[in-house]
Symmetry: C2
Subunit: 708 residues, 2 copies
Amino acid sequence: MRKQTTLVLLLLMFGFAAADEGMWLLTQLNQLDLEKKGLQIPVSDIYNPDGTGLTDAVVWLGGCTSSFVSPNGLLVTNHHCAYGALQRASTMGTVNYIDDGFHAASYEEELPAPGQSAFVLLGLTDVTDEVLQNVKGEKDPLKRSEKLEKVIAEMVEAEEAGKTDLSVRIVPMFQGMKYHKYVYRRYDDVRIVFAPPASVGKYGGEIDNWMWPRHTGDFTFMRVYSAPDGSGAAYSKDNVPVQPKNYLRIAGSDLKEGDFTFILGFPGNTTRYRTSFSVEHNLNFIYPNTIKDFQEIINIMDELSKVDPAAEIKMAGMKAGLGNTMKNFQGQVDGMTKTDFIARKKAFEQELTAFVNSDKKLKKEYGDVLNKISAEYASLNATRVLDDALNSFGRLSGSMFGVANTIFTTVDELAKPEKDREPGFNPKMVSRTKDRLKFTYSSYYEPFDIAIFERTLNKPGVQNLEAVKAVLNGRDVKSFVAEAYASTQLKNLEFAQSLFEKTPAELKALNDPFINLVIALQPQRKASRERGEKFGANIDLLRQKYIEVLLAWKGESGMYPDANGTIRLTYGEVAGYEPADAVVYEPFTSLAGVVEKNTGAEPFDAPQKLVDLYNSKDFGRWTDPELKEVPVAFTHRCDITGGNSGSPVMNAKGELIGLAFDGNYEAMTGDWQYDYEIQRTISVDIRYVLFIVEKFGGAGHLLQEMNL
Amino acid sequence: MRKQTTLVLLLLMFGFAAADEGMWLLTQLNQLDLEKKGLQIPVSDIYNPDGTGLTDAVVWLGGCTSSFVSPNGLLVTNHHCAYGALQRASTMGTVNYIDDGFHAASYEEELPAPGQSAFVLLGLTDVTDEVLQNVKGEKDPLKRSEKLEKVIAEMVEAEEAGKTDLSVRIVPMFQGMKYHKYVYRRYDDVRIVFAPPASVGKYGGEIDNWMWPRHTGDFTFMRVYSAPDGSGAAYSKDNVPVQPKNYLRIAGSDLKEGDFTFILGFPGNTTRYRTSFSVEHNLNFIYPNTIKDFQEIINIMDELSKVDPAAEIKMAGMKAGLGNTMKNFQGQVDGMTKTDFIARKKAFEQELTAFVNSDKKLKKEYGDVLNKISAEYASLNATRVLDDALNSFGRLSGSMFGVANTIFTTVDELAKPEKDREPGFNPKMVSRTKDRLKFTYSSYYEPFDIAIFERTLNKPGVQNLEAVKAVLNGRDVKSFVAEAYASTQLKNLEFAQSLFEKTPAELKALNDPFINLVIALQPQRKASRERGEKFGANIDLLRQKYIEVLLAWKGESGMYPDANGTIRLTYGEVAGYEPADAVVYEPFTSLAGVVEKNTGAEPFDAPQKLVDLYNSKDFGRWTDPELKEVPVAFTHRCDITGGNSGSPVMNAKGELIGLAFDGNYEAMTGDWQYDYEIQRTISVDIRYVLFIVEKFGGAGHLLQEMNL
């Protein structure tokens, strides 16, 4: 039976870590008593700022996590994290590394993955005082926020100056109560070493996405290259495999239910300390609108794919991304509705209010925080229709409009005196923007671009915009769009790049339809952005106050900052769960289940070789003694979110046992609340990874490189 | 983990009872060692031909099973078994007993269920010798089959003669190796006492149909009435509640996993001893064609319901029936395909052939049985297209065409000399046919009738029939159908009934379009029927030989005859199962699960009162001590099929613990093969039944009647 205590537990939990909950900062590890909870190595073996720790093997991929698994820069992450790189490396009609997989038998055969960078963490520092001293006494939230942004940009710039491979991030913790600085070395030469075919690496596809039981071999091996001097550099055949400070060792023993596990990774974003007003805004507006929007875009993709099958590959990555977000948002809606989330948040806030009101000083300082937050969301609502219409142009980032927008806003900013420019805006950034335009062009697919541009212009809110009316100038959308694509010169990459050298007036003189539209929209989009910035500045400070009062209420122990792309540790034992009345999910799936799901049709199209291996029980050394099968994936009580994809999962000895790749659907509201009963991390078992590499892929040399 | 032994086990099992498998004859109970398997009462307490047994409380409903649960004829069965009766009792626009449920506070309020009969078994006899002596020496299968049919009809008629409430069935066992006679008393006055609303009794609807975990309160109480002298009679207000020879006692203790259970009921039809040729015929032809056909009919119903919501109720029962069969057939297709059923049957037949060939005598007697069966199916295929077209008229039984067909074929048969008539055809049957026409008219819905008649005539095979061409006489289908419904007098029930008094010539002279079509089709339909009868006679004898050789191979112990609507016992413990890799289904569901599934929208529209009872934990005495919840349904290893619906489920003490109402989807090929690992009976827990009656329905007086 499902535990009846779930709702009660949840009510108590907002904002305070329950057993196993949490995405902990490396500087918080000592307060977790991990040894008591099952860790068999000293915490200092995990993170050792003065020496070497496992964290030195954990590599940020900008949106995903990965880890070094050999002294020669061999890196392992999820297949879905390497998807874009595989896609870009695939040449239409000749090789399709997504469908076929890839295996480099030697360094020479490794496949450059253009656009993929790897960030190795060099160190982290608390810079709270250094940052906040600049805004002491500043009462105006927006000015304070702008100052902070400027100061941070300057600090980053100063530290990166002259170091081409350094990447510095200064990020607020606890909504700005603290600021931490993370310094990375950036490597731009990352190559693909081994990728299973999609029929293994994406087995189950969108149907199984977010689902348990799961049978996806979601992994890919890459290798990080540095310049011969060890510095990070762009691809060059003279580059050499990087020699990481540390790399992970593969587990030498089998994993089983109840085992202690932990994860090191870069979770992107959580909102665990938000108020009911924020929840309402998302549940009633952001989620349903985005779902509708993305579904329309996917429909467009599907129509185009019917006409041109080659288009499918071009759009596959983006479609997968949209589908993933949609399913996530739908899960949020379902989960929040089912658990009556808003009502429980409100009940919690009532309790909090009672606490605040019980103390005069607290009441004075914090008594109006909730009301002020509520007022901020009301003001956001007041201009929502207009802002929505304007924001829909922001979703055209990979399009011709997006190119025009990038060029014009960059040139326009460059034309300003340096002191008036946006913080963080500098020539290096301009040059990188210009250079990265080539990725936009290499994945550009015009029929899709035309369709989404038309769709945007056809939105009722957009049609009401004076700027749009002016640019259309009486023409209907269809003919305007047709003319625009026929007449624009922006489709030529070299031409587009050359425009970064122009002045705004010169751009205007081009009379390019896309640039014209960017210029026409500029005043209203600027005003909208400023409204957003004002809301952001106000709400940030209010949220900080809300966290302060939470701390005052319950004390500091057990609170971790929301995820923000910085490295975190989460831990919890291997455990199944009970998703519904009379249903128990066990924590391990097996190769038998891969075959059981196999229909021969995508996404359940297991390769015949894999089925043959199963039928002949040719499991090598990868049989689990209890399952008597090759384990494929497992669930455990770790607390992860987007950004953790590809994160190494370790056992009590700190050895690699798997790669996190998903959360379960039942706990999709996990970004808002942690649920001990049903929230699970889904990881691919390292034994399946190695079975596929060795028995299916015939890449035994990689096992040798990992000392197996 | 799912056991890897499943396939191996299955291969060994065709035709021979594995642990717990079997639908056993009452005369076989002593060979089962039930006491060793957990039964705590003597077998003679279950079935005692010389005294009283539990079998005396088990009542056939003609398609379903039920049981007496009080000395005053209170009967309990499934809600879906009483569905048609509830539907007929519902008056459009005023009361809807399906949606609202029904509760009679007194005998007087009980609701007549027209068309519902209850059959109480009086006794059973082996009449093999009496039957088979009539066909000794008859070599021609068809003549033999016709003689048998005639003899059996005569025996039945002789025994029923002069006894208005007696119903005699003589049925072949083991494909005609044996014949058993079952004598019943028929009661035509059955009244509805308590039915939950569909939101309880059909909770989960088609979505959950065949599924586990299940949360359906699938029960209805009825009461059987007799004439004051105790004989069976049609409804009369002078009738009195029947005093059954025995009735079941409600279990006094809680049920739990592993407990011994058994079921007494009337399973309708299984095909456990069929050959691969029969499987191929069904898998490749019957199932897919029927699924397609029924889906088309359901689509027609859905279209009509959109236009006329009242139509929905009229067609609800039929739609549910079609949906049920479709899901079943799809499950058969899925299950057979997934388990590679044909290949395994063929492998089994190879083994059998090797055994037969190993013995000269056996080879002579049985060496060609499989080849001959194969040849029969080949001949069936040869005329399949034509037979299909003709058979499609047989599916119009509730339509105007069906009425015309019933009248004409009856009158035509009556016109023959008595000795030439079909066996079993007699004036009593004619009179009952005439009388039962009223049920056809009370559920008649013309727009649906028109639509399916048109659909039939539009089938390509049907359009090719000369008889159809002749009747259409150049008109297109649409205008012919419109004219037919405009001109026919058959829509008047009294007129239609009066036609039973006419001669075939007089019917012909009416020039009714439906009767004209029946007459035109008659020669070809007769020829098709004769082909079918010849196939049936041949295949029956061959199947009998096949069973003989199975017996010769493996010995007689452990073989039970295929289900054929006669009373059977099946037993097996309470157990969950493992439907897929890493998924475990527990054997009990609970009220918590009802609430968990509740969306407020049909079919998951739990009544608010039920939700309130759950929220206030107002469970009365119906809480299970282990679940700490009201149990709703459970799974156990009994072996049932259609016809078992409503069957009483007993514990080791022979006390009532539930009502069987479904099998699980994973084992839908159960009619062809029993699967110990995943085949389960789904029963509603008697504690949920009583909780609903008492706490939800406020019908405590029924509990008193059951001595609770």
